[in-house]
């Protein structure tokens, strides 16, 4: 066990902060805002990262990466998430869509899809959930029928983040065969979002645009060479992908950043001397530390080539609860003015706490709900019996 931070990683963190200080515009509030400048900015920012070889830092050199350690990658993801993810949706490419391609893609697919990701030029979206298939993802109904040299896809996906960004590609889950076990017969497709037959309907959210879309597929022709992995064996890919996704976001880093700003506010408002405020903020700080270590455990396993399914769920259960608690504590601290959003000139902390609170209302739903994470840990981690 070794808790030492590599001095090179510490320097990298300083460099990243300097870059963020120099490039993040004053108006930057993350990409889920009604501001036409936001998405172009994320693309520009990714190109700037790519130019420094910092975008696909931990990817192997053969796939356009810098071959950096999992820990350097962790620094990157912490600093990015703390700054409301100026990479926009690119984190998905880096953390799991790219690695899935490296693992399951053919050489041709890797050569075709990875380099644009490494250059930060493409936006991908994830087409998993459907109106009738949420937690019970295996009940999905989108169909892919093999017709000569391509698959014809029909169905509806929902809650698809970034599809209206617009996304260039979609990692799509569809049923290609009817099988006795419903986990069989599901396949993963790499779908060009400009293919005829695809329509995207944005769905507004409490937090702003781009978070949600409904994407319909009507007789969409997907070339056969855009099938990822074996036909009918997609479930295995999904499981691996979701684990990477769970380890891939440093949620605690944002919570810790908001907490820093709450400290400033408490000092300025004189609340810092209230023992209850001190105790509450200290408890949250300790909890951020725990969340970081739980994530680091999963990263340690990943660095050793293990897919840390249970550990990733444990880290996520902890971190999502923390994010929500920081939001609640923040609103309590701000009082009535906590209602004011970033557009209001007298909003405390420029509306940041309000945004954090609202954005985290569904944090225990996205990427597998809290209950589903707990089911995973109960069965796979603790060996408790299955429900019948």
């Amino acid at each position: 066990m070794d808790f030492a931070v590599d001095p090179a990683d510490a320097r990298f963190r300083d460099d990243l902060r300097a870059l963020l200080d120099g490039t993040l515009p004053d108006w930057w509030r993350g990409m889920f805002v009604d501001d036409p400048r936001a998405i172009p900015f994320t693309r520009e920012f990714c190109r700037a990262l790519a130019a420094r070889e910092w975008l696909t830092l931990a990817w192997p050199a053969e796939h356009g990466g810098a071959g950096a350690s999992a820990w350097t990658q962790a620094v990157l993801r912490e600093e990015m998430w703390a700054a409301e993810e100026p990479r926009g949706p690119q984190y998905m490419n880096l953390n799991y869509i790219g690695p899935l391609l490296m693992r399951y893609g053919t050489p041709t697919q890797r050569a075709r899809f990875l380099p644009p990701m490494a250059r930060g030029e493409v936006i991908w979206c994830q087409g998993f959930s459907e109106p009738d298939a949420g937690s019970d993802l295996a009940s999905l109904r989108t169909r892919a029928r093999l017709v000569e040299d391509h698959f014809l896809v029909d169905g509806t996906k929902i809650w698809t983040s970034y599809a209206d960004a617009p996304a260039d590609w979609c990692l799509l889950l569809a049923r290609s065969e009817l099988a006795a076990d419903r986990h069989d017969g599901i396949s993963v497709f790499l779908v060009d979002m400009t293919t005829p037959g695809i329509s995207v309907r944005p769905i507004d959210t409490m937090a702003g645009p781009h978070e949600f879309n409904e994407v319909t597929f009507e007789s969409v022709a997907v070339p056969r060479d855009c099938l990822l992995g074996e036909a009918g064996r997609g479930w295995e890919l999904v499981a691996a992908g979701l684990t990477f996704e769970r380890v891939g976001i440093a949620r605690y880093a944002r919570a810790a950043r908001v907490l820093e700003h709450l400290v400033t506010h408490a000092n300025e408002s004189g609340q810092s001397r209230d023992p209850r405020v001190r105790a509450r903020l200290a408890e949250l700080r300790a909890s951020c530390e725990a969340a970081r270590l739980l994530a680091y455990r999963a990263v340690s396993l990943q660095a050793r080539g293990v897919v840390p399914t249970v550990e990733a769920s444990i880290a996520r259960i902890h971190a999502t609860r923390l994010e929500q608690e920081v939001g609640h504590a923040g609103l309590e601290l701000l009082g009535p003015l906590g209602l004011l959003r970033s557009g209001d000139p007298v909003a405390p902390l420029a509306g940041e706490v309000q945004r954090h609170f609202v954005r985290n209302i569904p944090t225990t739903v996205a990427a597998g709900t809290l209950e589903i994470q707990k089911n995973i840990v109960a069965r796979r981690g603790l060996g408790l019996p299955r429900e019948t």
Partner: protein
């Protein structure tokens, strides 16, 4: 950065786990607790034989020169078995402080016996009216010392007694002076005593020119708290084991209760809290060992987090057990008592959240 164990740490943990299973199953814990004095000499000798008393003591005094982190690795395994033993207190509350702050003569005189397990040490801190182990003590030091100390673990078998006084740490040796220990009636995991000192013969820990001051007392308490936290994490892990086993076997409404999500998810909550406490403890131990600047803060974060978290863990375990967990026929109480003791002696201090608050910038 790597949060997996080294081969050496893994070997130590495995050896300790195997020892605990073989030598100290719950029946033996019960027998030791029911015995007069609650101290099992053969068990102590077996642990001394394995070199555990001197694990973190300097090689030149007969120890194996490992660090605080290794002591926490061992502590976790002892906690899993609720092993009643003065081993951890003797190490963290007496031997390590002597190694850190003792004079050359004190180190040479006391450490070899402590490292070999030929003598046992402990520390007296709390006094009547004190609500916090990290609070101000009033017993004054000198060459003679008088006063009352409470909740002193293992005072009845200790050969070396360190006493926290207002000016620092004082050293008493059973071979040179006497103290009076009266057993407390406590809901605890280990024997605790009220110690009365009446003009007892003492000397400051350290040389007369450089006696160990209150900052050493704080370092000792921080280290002891982290070692105890690791022991508590082990005890909490045992609670979870018992809960999972019970939930898998107990049938109600025609199925194992572990198939009810309300029960299963409670077990998962325990898993999350235990893991959080565990890595906080290891991180703090790692920093303490290096005397890292971050150490006091990491100790503080670990204890601030653990105090609520571990209580939730054992209460969840009780809930899963139904009435049977409240019965002393179940093993659960062996662990609950230890967790409670940890929580209210070492983790309850209001000092920790407040220090953390200051460190995070609250003015």
């Amino acid at each position: 950065m790597d949060l997996t164990w080294s081969d050496e740490q893994e070997m130590l943990a495995d050896a300790a786990a195997a020892f605990v299973r073989r030598e100290c199953p719950p029946e033996r814990v019960r027998a030791i607790e029911a015995s007069d004095g609650g101290h099992d000499q053969p068990l102590w000798d077996a642990m001394a034989e394995l070199g555990w008393c001197g694990l973190a003591l300097p090689v030149e005094h007969g120890g194996s020169g490992r660090g605080v982190l290794e002591v926490t690795v061992l502590a976790e395994q002892l906690g899993r078995g609720a092993v009643p033993s003065p081993l951890l207190d003797s190490t963290a509350l007496a031997a390590l402080p002597i190694a850190w702050a003792g004079s050359d003569a004190q180190r040479a005189r006391l450490l070899p016996a402590l490292a070999a397990g030929r003598s046992i040490g402990t520390l007296a801190v709390l006094e009547p009216g004190m609500t916090d182990a990290w609070g101000d003590v009033s017993v004054p030091g000198g060459t003679r010392i008088s006063g009352q100390k409470l909740l002193v673990p293992w005072a009845h078998v200790a050969d070396v007694l360190l006493v926290a006084s207002s000016s620092g740490l004082y050293l008493l040796e059973a071979a040179r002076t006497a103290w009076d220990s009266v057993s407390h009636d406590a809901f605890a995991g280990e024997p605790l005593f009220a110690v009365t000192l009446l003009d007892a013969c003492t000397e400051p820990l350290g040389s007369p020119e450089r006696p160990a001051g209150p900052e050493t007392t704080h370092r000792v308490l921080d280290t002891a708290a982290v070692v105890r936290l690791a022991y508590a994490v082990g005890a909490a892990e045992a609670c979870l084991d018992l809960a999972v086993r019970h939930a898998s076997q107990r049938v109600q409404f025609g199925r194992p209760i572990g198939t009810f999500q309300a029960v299963a998810h409670r077990c998962v909550d325990m898993r999350v809290e235990i893991d959080a406490c565990r890595y906080l403890a290891f991180q703090a131990a790692w920093s303490l060992e290096r005397e890292d600047r971050a150490a006091p803060l990491e100790v503080t974060a670990a204890l601030t987090y653990a105090r609520g978290a571990l209580r939730r863990v054992f209460l969840d375990a009780h809930q899963v057990h139904g009435a049977s967990g409240f019965s002393t026929e179940s093993d659960l109480h062996l662990f609950t008592r230890r967790l409670t003791e940890f929580e209210i002696t070492f983790a309850s201090s209001r000092r920790h959240p407040d220090l953390l608050a200051t460190a995070m910038g609250l003015s």
